[in-house]
Amino acid sequence: MKYMLLIFDDESMYPKMTAEENAKLMEEYGVFTQELMQSGVMMHAERLAPTHTATTVRVRAGDTITTDGPFAETKEQFGGYYMIDVKDLDEAIAWAAKIPSAKGGSVEVRPIWTDEQVCN
């Protein structure tokens, strides 16, 4: 099954990090991504720019309304994702737990939509 691992953490901590701390985190992410690729479950992954770059778009009565900032102001922000293809939820959870940001932030595990899904 395909899952997206959505990474949420407090982006305000990044500017406060020392160069060493930042390098260490990037190193951890490098190791994790390498492991994912070697095990053959990795589909793709991206890190997002911080939420101050976000624009939220809504179309109401035919008008496009754009607002500054992310969809929701939260303590932890959506900062990136991994898309993986694994056997089941337990495997997805095991990978999610290895994401470096899972230690301070959180990772949401969501299956990718399939035609089996029932809408309601």
Partner: protein, 429 residues
């Protein structure tokens, strides 16, 4: 689990003219195991459940004329497999124009799985697979409980709703959602691998103990169903111990439930009023259950991996060991509580420890502990805290304060039987 084909729980023979009763009996005893196997085979909770219901309906039609089969479980499982194939085929015909390939593959998969000789009678690890899936941590705790009772215990949705005093529709929705999440989120149907076991076993034990307590604490709801909950929790405990003989906490939990349940006939009087442990007629305790629990607890403790259930069972065992209430070794019980507080440092456990200390060392020492707990504010609306305080004050002959504490306890208490008891105590004070 031994298949009890034509014997009901009380061991009486079920004759052919009692075929209806045999069906009901088979449903109670076998439906959990049968469903567990069917889910593995057909790979879907709802399809398995529907096929099993079809098979039991078929038993109601056939057994009165043809007699009750020797192996009830095999009969139901075989018929259910056929019914599942029928259902998949019908579904396949309906969907043919839409997603031909997919449904064909599904039917082939189910059929080939069903032709597998191995599944004919053997249940094997299936009940364990089912319980771990129902208690998967990605399901909400309430959903775990409801799904476990619905699938493994063969309780109907209205019965579970009555036991938990919930709207039937609320409960039905909870179960539907849980089954859907299992399917759509890809929760595996299996016994978790070793590295996941400690955490998963804990979740399973918690669900089983909650089911037991819902039955035992009898705070609200139907008495019959509550008895059923205790019996089912004990049955699930046995399944767990049977399949996981190396798990001492599973044995600890089963021992604990057996010990508590051994007092069932002694703890409630004729007028439904609760009788305190010290006042119970100990000859009514179920000695057979007690000795089974002792054996389990000893086996568990030899594994030298202690946990909260073993310690709680050890406390219950101290009570069971005492021929008369005054023979209770309260110092030993305090020692067990010391261990329990270190394992689960929550205020309720500390309160129970205070009660044991009062029994071992006198009411002053107990009261001091209760008061320090009360001042922490955590248990301020917990009736047991006020009732304990009242009881200790009464024993110290501080009657006015005791009455005040009893009144406080009554105002916090939602259980009718316990309220009656507290009022009775207040009148005596």
């Amino acid at each position: 689990m031994a298949a009890k084909s034509t014997h009901c729980a009380d061991g009486s023979d079920v004759r052919e003219d009692n075929a209806r009763e045999a069906v009901a009996c088979a449903f109670r005893q076998e439906s959990g195991a049968i469903l567990a196997t069917l889910i593995r085979v057909v790979g879907d909770f709802d399809l398995a459940d529907e096929a099993m219901q079809d098979a039991f309906a078929s038993a109601l039609r056939h057994w009165p004329a043809e007699g009750v089969p020797d192996n009830v479980r095999a009969w139901i499982t075989t018929v259910a497999k056929r019914k599942a194939i029928d259902r998949v085929r019908r579904h396949q015909v309906r969907r043919r124009r839409e997603i031909v390939g997919q449904s064909l593959r599904e039917a082939e998969r189910v059929e080939s799985a069903m032709n597998d000789e191995l599944i004919d009678n053997a249940v094997g690890d299936d009940p364990l697979r089912l319980i771990f899936t129902c208690c998967h941590p990605s399901l909400a705790f309430e959903a775990q409980v409801a799904l476990t009772l619905r699938t493994l215990c063969g309780l109907t949705t209205p019965e579970i709703a009555r036991a938990f005093v919930l709207q039937e529709s609320t409960l039905a929705q909870r179960i539907t959602r849980a089954k859907r999440k299992i399917r759509e989120a890809g929760i595996p149907y299996r016994i978790p691998p070793d590295r996941l076991l400690p955490e998963r076993v804990e979740a399973v034990l918690m669900v089983i103990y909650l089911v037991f307590n819902e039955g035992y604490a009898a705070s609200i709801g139907d008495a019959m169903i509550r008895r059923e909950l205790c019996a089912e929790a004990i049955r699930l405990g046995r399944v767990l111990v049977e399949f996981m003989p190396d798990e001492p906490e599973a044995m600890g939990l089963l021992a604990l439930m057996l010990l508590q349940d051994s007092r069932r006939d002694a703890r409630v009087g004729e007028d439904e009023a609760l009788i305190l442990l010290e006042d119970q007629n100990r000859s009514l305790w179920d000695r057979e259950q007690i000795s089974e629990a002792f054996e389990l607890l000893q086996t568990a403790q030899r594994r030298r991996r202690f946990g909260q259930y073993q310690v709680q069972a050890a406390i219950a065992a101290e009570h069971a060991r005492a021929i008369r209430a005054e023979d209770t070794d309260w110092h030993r019980i305090v020692q067990h509580y010391d261990v329990l507080v270190s394992l689960m440092p929550n205020p309720v456990v500390k309160l129970n420890r205070a009660v044991a200390v009062a029994m071992a060392c006198g009411p002053e020492e107990g009261l001091a502990l209760v008061e320090s707990l009360a001042s922490s504010g955590e248990l301020v609306s917990y009736h047991y805290l006020h009732a304990t305080k009242a009881d200790l004050l009464r024993r110290l002959d501080r009657r006015a304060e005791a009455r005040e504490a009893y009144r406080r306890a009554i105002s916090c208490c939602e259980n009718e039987a316990e309220r009656t008891f507290l009022k009775y105590r207040l009148d005596l004070t």
